[in-house]
């Protein structure tokens, strides 16, 4: 039995939340394993301290509306992180596709090309080595146009 599982069971046992058959099994385990018995005693002291403290200090009770639980259907609550990641991937893919489209409109075999206000220039810069560095986009304020540099 893992330590985390044991501790969780000991809390439930101390609070009387175990089903009778499970409680019997846990008791038998505690008799057979002295280290587990020590854990149980420590947990009993902790629960006792918590109970005494909560009863002794009424100001510990939260007095205002606590954060509301998310008011969503549970399945969406579970899916929300995955949906967010999927949405982010779609957004990045769409942006990359748009950039590629725009660059394809403006690049040619050599020299600058004009297309829709953007100028494409080929550069032989060794910094352009990966997919995401294949294009560089800059704004030329003199011409009032975007310049797209592509990997040679």
């Amino acid at each position: 039995m893992s330590p985390e599982t044991l501790r969780a069971l000991l809390v439930d046992r101390e609070l009387g939340e175990l089903a009778p058959d499970v409680a019997e099994l846990v008791d038998a385990y505690l008799e057979a394993v002295p280290a587990a018995r020590t854990e149980a005693d420590a947990m009993a002291r902790t629960v006792s301290a918590a109970r005494d403290t909560v009863r002794h200090f009424p100001d510990l009770a939260p007095t205002s509306e606590t954060e509301a639980e998310p008011q969503v259907i549970p399945i969406f609550y579970w899916l929300a992180p995955w949906l967010a990641r999927a949405a982010a991937l779609v957004a990045v893919a769409a942006l990359a596709g748009w950039l590629g489209y725009r660059t394809g409109q403006t690049t040619g075999p050599s020299g600058p090309m004009q297309a829709g206000g953007a100028t494409a220039t080929r550069v032989g810069d060794s910094r352009f080595t990966g997919l995401w560095t294949q294009y560089q986009v800059a704004y030329d304020s003199r011409r009032g146009a975007f310049i797209v540099a592509t990997q040679q």
């Binding site: 969780a8 939340e17 947990m43 301290a49 909560v54 509306e65």
Partner: protein
Amino acid sequence: MSGGMFETAQPADDVEQLYRETREALTAYFLRRHRSTHAAEDLLHETFLQLMRRVDCCRAASSPRGYLFGIARHVSADAWRRAKPPGEDDTSLASVAAPQPDPRLAVARETIAGLPPLQREVLDLRFQHDLSYAEIAEALGIPVGTVRSRLHNALELLRERLEQE
């Protein structure tokens, strides 16, 4: 008196029984949060008025007592939102802390005070009001597993702090 009609709802026997069983616990619940016996009584009545409006939901709940504490929780929160700071009442609840707290309690108090409100709420409902996991889940509108994990995490942290002392 013509035209005036007063509805007198006779509380059902089960609601009356629930009232008898939970009156003290709910009064204590409101006293802890509002520090005033007058406020506690008013809020207790408000709680049962709300219960009477949705008595069918209470009967259908897995734990009527937990459902009732859920209503009490919202009634308490609404009262806080409406009102003034707690009790210059002559019947305000005085601090029950003993002048020389046990050092163990002092550490535990500091630890529990630093917990998130939702964990403190679970601790309060369990150790002060003796609600079961299922009743706490019903009161807070969360799964029983969440109640267990919040309680376990809080106690685990408390145990670590106590062992450090």
